[in-house]
């Protein structure tokens, strides 16, 4: 890690309580009154740094905590434990006012193009709002100019900006959503599954658009997705998550050529590939555990084919091998 991190999360935990009020927590067991508190452990101890200029992809299946991670970094939810830094400064405990200077540097693109635009605001209003909010000194015509240039840059005709979102297709809405993020000229963008809700041919358009923006504006990306094919194409480094923990972090090419963590291996093998007759994938055992009752030890041990006694007991730590970080006892012990 020669360069300093632009964004970092350190020892991050996030739990969502699911027990209701006091009464829901109580239950009778063996004649005794017991109070149980349960929570979804969305993130359990993640360390991650995004280097300036890179595109870090976070992949994982549903419930692995990748979207929660994105939201914690953006300050939409507060972590239960741990911290988030931007430019080496802690930002997760800032007040709304103190957070403002960071708000214009960090922007977010969302998954669902049908929900991410306010249906009662025109495109013009949607795009003007963040610009005006962060640049109160600009005149109306200056703001309009910015809106025109940013709509052009995402390939939407500026003359359509007096229309409402429902008059646009899903792909166009996603472009507008990207325009809104770019409007305040950020340096860091969190993209939470920005193309998963789109059709294949539209996915390509939006992905190309994001790559153009990355080049032209020198953006740093945290790209959240479940689609490994997109990761291989877009990311410079990849972080694989499973049940709220980080399994493996490696440069993209390396991860795809030599996956080391057993979960990464299984995940890569499961992608349906063109021109491959039989599905030669690594079969995982058992069921995915719930994030409410995490397994002891390594969270992956109940499904892993390399599990030994230590895995069921001890949580593996992240170890660095060359440029790859892996949390796995089997790799550490040289069993894989």
């Amino acid at each position: 890690m020669s360069q300093p991190a632009l964004v970092g999360v350190h020892d991050l935990y996030k739990e969502f309580p699911i027990h209701g009020g006091l009464l829901e927590q109580l239950s009778f067991e063996n004649g005794r009154l017991i109070r149980k508190r349960e929570s979804v452990k969305a993130i359990s101890g993640v360390d991650l740094e995004v280097i300036k200029g890179e595109s870090l992809c976070v992949v994982g299946e549903s419930g692995c905590g990748k979207s929660t991670l994105a939201r914690v970094i953006m300050g939409l939810i507060r972590p239960s434990q741990g911290e988030v830094t931007y430019d080496q400064k802690r930002i997760d405990d800032l007040s709304m006012g103190d957070m403002l200077p960071y708000r214009r540097k960090m922007q977010m693109i969302f998954q669902n193009p049908y929900a991410s635009l306010n249906p009662r605001m025109t495109v013009q209003q949607t795009l003007e709002e963040p610009i005006r909010f962060h640049n109160p000194d600009l005149s109306n015509s200056e703001i309009k100019d910015i809106v025109v240039s940013v709509t052009k840059s995402v390939g939407v005709d500026p003359s359509w900006s007096s229309r409402y979102p429902h008059e646009f297709s899903g792909g166009q809405r996603q472009r507008i959503s990207i325009a809104r993020a770019l409007a305040v000229d950020p340096e860091f963008i969190v993209a939470d599954e920005p193309i998963s809700a789109l059709d294949v041919s539209i996915q390509a358009q939006v992905l190309n658009l994001l790559m153009d923006a990355r080049e032209q504006r020198d953006l740093t990306f945290l790209f959240i997705t479940h689609d490994l094919a997109v990761v291989e194409h877009f990311g410079s480094r990849v972080a694989v998550m499973y049940l709220g923990t980080l399994c493996e972090l490696a440069p993209t090419r390396k991860l795809f050529s030599v996956p080391r963590h057993p979960y990464t291996q299984a995940l890569l093998s499961a992608i349906p590939k063109l021109n491959q007759d039989s599905s030669e994938y690594i079969k995982l055992k058992g069921e995915v555990p719930t994030p409410v009752n995490l397994p002891r030890g390594c969270v992956f041990h109940s499904r892993c084919i390399h599990t030994n006694e230590r895995c069921t007991r001890e949580v593996p730590e992240i170890k660095v091998y060359d440029d790859t970080s892996i949390a796995c006892h089997a790799v550490e012990e040289g069993r894989i």
Binding site: H19, L23, E24, Q25, L26, S27
Partner: protein
């Protein structure tokens, strides 16, 4: 199950507490017990002495506590008008009201489910359109107007059915008088029950139809068709149960409205039930009777709502009464 009961019990206690506070403040402000007891001729000093003796000058909480203690023992005071314990007076009238509610509920259930289901299954059928049109008009006619119009048509103009009273009743176990066992009693029940059910019936027909239409569009019903099941099985096994779940909840809420409507119905038909009694008590400022009515009605709400919740929990497998929370679902 435990959490369910505790929660239910706590809620019931809360509701009854609120009602008792309301009832007590009514008693505190409405009507002077001394006036009823001693009349006008007693001097102010004697009155004060009596007030002290009766605890009427005690702090609010002491008085409330006394009220609560008496209430828990079933003593809500003596009706000024009937000169009998208010609870007894109310309980005498309870069967009449409950039979009215029972008859109306019977009409609602017996007609709303088949009509609602039929209208959902055959939306283009003439009968469905007719039923929906009648329902829309039906929910727009206030209960007391239905009552008045039915009296005008069936009693005044046609002279087929009686227009007031319970008719002949017989006493069955423990002093419960019923009109269901005599011809005269049944005839007297017809119009009031129809009037009482007149606004709920269309409401439930519309509700059941809407819910059923939604369920029929669901993926699992499509899947049931794809399995090649008979229409009967798809409609009555797959769709109906899912339709009725939300209807049960609404039903629980509507019981309150139904009881409120008994006041209207009983007034129009001079039905000797609790609602009629309550209005008379209001006009006579018979405080103990007003309070007794409040508390009895509150108890009825609490009990029926608990039953509805229990039934819902038993019918819906995704609600776990046995465990406090939903697990991994």
């Amino acid at each position: 199950m435990f959490a369910f009961f505790v929660r239910r019990l706590a809620q019931a206690a809360l509701v009854m507490f609120v009602i008792s506070v309301i009832a007590f403040s009514i008693q505190d402000n409405l009507g002077d017990p001394l006036r009823e007891m001693v009349g006008q001729s007693v001097s102010e000093e004697e009155r004060q002495a009596l007030r002290d003796k009766m605890g009427l000058n005690d702090p609010f909480f002491v008085q409330y506590w006394r009220f609560l203690k008496n209430a828990l023992q079933g003593d809500l005071g003596t009706s000024y008008f009937f000169k009998r314990p208010a609870v007894d007076v109310i309980l005498d009238k309870l069967p009449a009201t409950l039979e009215l509610v029972f008859g109306a509920s019977l009409i609602i259930i017996v007609f709303s489910v088949p009509i609602g289901v039929f209208a959902a299954i055959n939306p283009r059928h003439w009968f469905s359109k007719f039923a929906m049109a009648v329902s829309t008009v039906g929910i727009s006619i206030p209960v007391f107007l239905t009552a008045i119009m039915s009296i005008y048509i069936f009693s005044v103009e046609l002279g087929w059915l009686p227009s007031f009273g319970r008719g002949e009743t017989v006493e069955i176990f423990g002093g419960w008088t019923t009109g269901f066992l005599t011809w005269d009693g049944l005839v007297h029940l017809i119009l009031p029950c129809i009037a009482l059910s007149s606004i709920m019936l269309p409401l439930f027909i519309r509700l059941i139809r809407a819910e059923m239409l939604e369920v029929l569009e669901s993926e699992y019903v499509k899947f049931a068709w794809a399995k090649g099941l008979s229409p009967k099985r798809v409609w009555f096994v797959h769709a109906l149960k899912n339709t009725l779940l939300p209807v049960i909840t609404v039903g629980g809420v509507q019981i309150g409205t139904l009881i409120a409507f008994t006041i209207l119905t009983e007034t129009v038909f001079q039905w000797p039930g609790m609602g009629f009694l309550f209005l008379e008590a209001v006009n006579r400022v018979d405080t103990p009777l007003i309070i007794a009515y409040l508390i009895v009605v509150g108890l009825i709400f609490v009990v029926t709502n608990t039953i509805v919740d229990l039934v819902y929990g038993l019918v819906n497998p995704t609600v776990k009464l046995a465990r406090p929370h939903g697990g991994d679902g």
